[in-house]
Amino acid sequence: MSSKQTFIQNNKRDAPRARPSSSGWRNWIVVAPFFLFTLLFIVLPSFSLLTRAFLDNNGKFTLLNFAGLFEPSILSAYWVTIRISLATAVGGGLLGFLMAYAVTVGNLPRAVRTGLMTFSGVASNFAGVPLAFAFIATLGRTGLVTLLLKSVLKINLYDQGFNLYSFWGLTLTYMFFQFPLMILVITPALDGLKKEWREASENLGASHSMYLRKVALPILLPSILGSMILLFGNSFGAYATAYSLTGGFINLVTIVIGSQIKGDILYNPGLGYALAIGMVVVMSVMMAIYYFLRRKSERWLRQ
């Protein structure tokens, strides 16, 4: 931290408060609604799922619900969900990173950047039902791209084993909002890459590739990995897009939870709770790693 910054911070700390800060219950009344709300609508629901996950149908303590997670069909649901999340996080992450790199570091006109940011804001929020419709019109059996490939390149996607309603189809669909999201979250990190670092590296006699290998990539790596983890979580918890695309006929964790809520096939409430808790655990681990990585890069880039 530069001494200048310390100075400013100290100054702030020295500044007298408007009134003594511990004036009791009055302070808490302002924040009470927020805490009450989050207690009711985030903590309570999660906690209720957690306790129910440890109870059997008669309200007795059991671990059987969690044992149910290791049934082949459930394991496979987790496996497919993780594979899709991984594929879209890495694929979307790479494409998004390269595009963000192009508009920040790879000298393109300023207007391209502005345009790309608007586009990313829109595309990363365009998901769910309409996105599924769009991909059906594109890569479905009578989708435009499917037909184009058939007539121009004589490739019949569906004969090649492609199916929009399976792993690859869902992966391609998720990519539509994943890579724009990557652009949005990685651009600030790329902006933080100071021009002076490149100049200092050149000045010290390093080649461009040495700069990339030893300076730029190591500095960006925590941000890149962190952003990919966000993308992973983003697709891990996705439900609407998958459900509307496949009509519920794909074995994803979210889809299985959905059918447990509705109580249709193989109704087993205990298993539903365990699945939900399993999901929260996976997401928590992801967020913990994300925070660790973010702290690392923030510490580096503090100035």
Binding site: A18, V30, T38, F41, A123, N125, Y239
Partner: protein
């Protein structure tokens, strides 16, 4: 230098194709409702469907309530932890990130389990389910509303502004509504439009709580039996998202922080 910008253009073009192709295909498809000719018939049918208007109205109203509730919850809290309770900052930040950890499907599961039984019985009445829906959406919006408001507050030096207002004799309501809120206009507007964009076509929570009353499930229903109309709905929905995001750009003058992570995927 030259070679690098060729690569740059390449990635941009690939990304743009990925973006444009599905939209173009959908638009093309939506024009083919009449055999042999291109027409806006599918759009006409959508617009003539009273359910289209009623569901979109319903979702808009829910979205507006969501915005009001989340602003009223978040702004005073974010303001107060900057001014008086800085010790609570870590906790509030942690809470506002919780929606990342609890996906929408898990959230709605928990909401139904808690509030359908004693002592709440919220799902027994229409009004109760609406309350629950708004609550769910407030949770979904919490991360970006909090972050947006908090960065807005960071930019205006709340402490000095408050002290200045106090020294000029302002009371608390005056400070909050005449000093703090106007200075947060950009933050509030951009999180409001982001909330609109996420909530309007939301499917996961809506489908379990209110079903086809809202726009997301309505679109889904259309998709099950009307192919051309579903494509036109996708285009309309895309236009709506674009309009809302455009509004954010307008308010932020290009510096949009538009990443809604806990959105409705």
């Amino acid at each position: 230098m030259k070679r690098r910008s060729i690569w740059s253009w390449l990635w941009i073009v690939i990304g743009m194709l990925y973006f444009i192709l599905p939209l173009y295909s959908t638009f093309d498809f939506s024009l083919r409702a009449k055999k042999g000719v291109l027409s806006f018939l599918a759009y006409q049918r959508v617009f003539e469907d009273p359910n289209f208007w009623s569901t979109i109205k319903f979702s808009l109203v829910i979205a507006i309530f969501t915005i009001i509730v989340s602003i009223l919850l978040v702004v005073p809290t974010a303001y107060w932890i900057r001014l008086r309770l800085p010790k609570l900052r870590v906790l509030v930040e942690f809470i506002s990130m919780l929606p990342f950890v609890v996906p929408a499907i898990v959230l709605v599961f928990g909401l139904i389990r808690v509030f359908s039984g004693a002592p709440f019985f919220l799902t027994n009445t229409y009004f109760g389910t609406y309350v629950l829906l708004v609550a769910g959406y407030v949770v979904l919006a919490l991360p970006f509303v909090f972050r947006s408001v908090d960065t807005g507050l960071a930019a205006i030096d709340v402490q000095s502004l408050t002290e200045a207002a106090q020294s000029l004799g302002a009371n608390w309501p005056t400070i909050i509504f005449k000093v703090i809120f106007p200075n947060l206009r950009v933050a509030i507007m951009s999180s409001a439009f982001l909330t609109l964009a996420t909530v309007i076509g939301e499917y996961t929570i809506a489908s379990f709580l209110v079903g086809i009353k809202s726009f997301g499930p309505y679109m889904s229903l259309i998709g099950q039996n009307k192919t051309y109309e579903s494509s036109s709905l996708a285009i309309i929905s895309f236009m709506i998202t674009w309009a809302f995001m455009g509004m954010i750009q307008l308010f932020n003058r290009g510096k949009a922080d538009t990443s809604a992570l806990a959105g409705a995927r």
